[in-house]
Symmetry: C2
Subunit: 253 residues, 2 copies
């Protein structure tokens, strides 16, 4: 059985997509079979891996509506062992259309049933909201990965996110085992970052990844070449950091 | 009559709230009467001005449901001339509850009718999505302010946003006159920022603000003190830049 990891945070721009792409690629490099599902209508997880959304005929939306199967919408990437279910803008329609169907929270789980047998990891990149697409992802998740910036607004949202996770465990998915907080864009020279990090360590120590991601321009350059950091800067510092993150994730088993 | 400015971008973390808070404060400093409406369930616009959302009894949600009036939910800030309609987490429920009511796109317009007579500017901070709360804000907007980062994913979303604005003009709000793009977190030393900025200038020159906001740690420190930059660093460079931005906005009249 595969492990389903959901990358979530309703705070925007904290590095959900960057984490989803580079963690997926690092796991695939270790020999794991990975399916990256883009559940964000912005479609950044696909485009960050060089998939041109305008050329796509179909995506997660068609899977959710049941008009196509997983085999139809799945796309191979240039990374051995990493496939993607991309998103296009019509996925935004799903948020409204899902509201009126039965079992609306479990729709994604139903359509990804096949995937959990043929991959080691299913990684779901979520939009910056706690709407129905994110709830659908959480309803089938084994673990949640929560990227955070060490800034005021990002810290504020964490307690709200934790109460949502508690509600999901109680009402939709008792299998949601753990959540892991990943500090991202950390700049040790910035006093605010040191202070906020100390707050996160104080309140959320048990859930904190040992690995943390520094701010690095190379990381924000890579998606414009359609590559994960392991391809864009193979022997660079950031590639090693994501390899360490992937080892930590595999070690949680 | 007041001018309604909506700060939008479905890309997360580009600086919507930072722009809404500091532009509102700079306009108030010039003597304009400003109402800042927080339409994002994260509630960052209120907390960035020192309003404790846990102490609030009510918010925009109660206004949308019609259980309270504008006078009940409006909060004065420490800035002369700047009032806020804060958001609490129950606003997230409005996205789903609005789906089933008549005229669901115009609900915000109906409840803010009083405001447009007693303020010079109504500024609405939107969540990072193109859902019903953002559509409600666009349905009553005179102008849209679009903060962008000079990074790959942020540029990708602009053309999607422009087609949404076109749809809004045609179907919901022909009065939506203009949109203005504000470059934010710009770092001239970063090659990617120079390249992306050149792209934005090529395709969106006519809509670009002359003022642009550099990356500055002071700006991300200010909200943790509950202050806009004009209070936190009164004579600093960033305060002057937001004063110039406010003058540019007033000059568009
Ligand atoms: N460690 C880092 N160092 C530098 N830049 C980063 C880092 N992590 C992410 N970025 C950049 O910051 C921006 C925001 O990251 P990203 O888009 O992955 O966040 P997100 O949480 O997925 O955003 P959204 O909420 O819109 O989905 C992107 O331009 C990305 O390239
Ligand atoms: N020019 C700037 N320089 C440095 N930091 C900035 C700047 N503008 C915004 N920030 C910081 O970047 C982060 C994102 O900004 P902000 O929260 O305003 O974006 P947003 O678009 O409102 O996010 P969301 O999509 O979650 O609503 C915040 O921590 C903010 O303090
Ligand atoms: Mg993303
Ligand atoms: Mg915001």
């Amino acid at each position: 059985d595969s492990r389903v990891l959901v990358v979530i945070n309703q705070k925007g721009g904290v590095g959900k997509t960057t984490t989803a792409i580079n963690l997926s690629a690092a796991l695939a490099e270790m020999g794991q079979r990975v399916l990256l599902v883009d559940a964000d209508p912005q479609g950044n997880a696909g485009s960050g891996l060089g998939i041109d959304r305008n050329k796509l005929g179909c995506c997660l939306y068609d899977l959710l509506l049941g008009t196509l199967s997983l085999a139809d919408v799945r796309v191979e990437t240039m990374i051995q062992g990493l496939d993607v279910v991309p998103a296009t803008v019509n996925l935004a329609g799903a948020e409204v259309e899902l509201v009126v169907i039965d079992n609306r929270e479990y729709r994604l789980g139903e359509v990804l049933k096949d995937a959990v047998n043929s991959y080691d990891f299913v990684i779901i990149d979520c939009p910056p909201s706690l709407g129905l697409l994110t709830i659908n992802a959480l309803a089938i998740a084994d673990e949640a990965v929560i990227p955070v910036q060490c800034e005021f607004f990002a810290l504020e949202g964490l307690s709200q996110l934790y109460s949502t996770l508690g509600m999901i465990r109680k009402e939709l998915n008792p299998r949601l085992r753990q959540q892991h907080i990943l500090i991202n864009m950390y700049d040790g020279r910035v006093k605010l970052h040191q202070q906020i990090r100390a707050e996160i360590e104080k309140f959320f120590q048990a859930d904190l990844f040992k690995t943390e991601i520094p701010r690095s321009v190379r990381l924000s350059e890579a998606p414009s070449f359609g590559q994960p950091i392991m391809e864009y800067d193979k022997s660079g510092r950031l590639s090693d950091i994501y390899r360490r993150l992937a080892e930590e994730v595999v070690g949680f088993e």
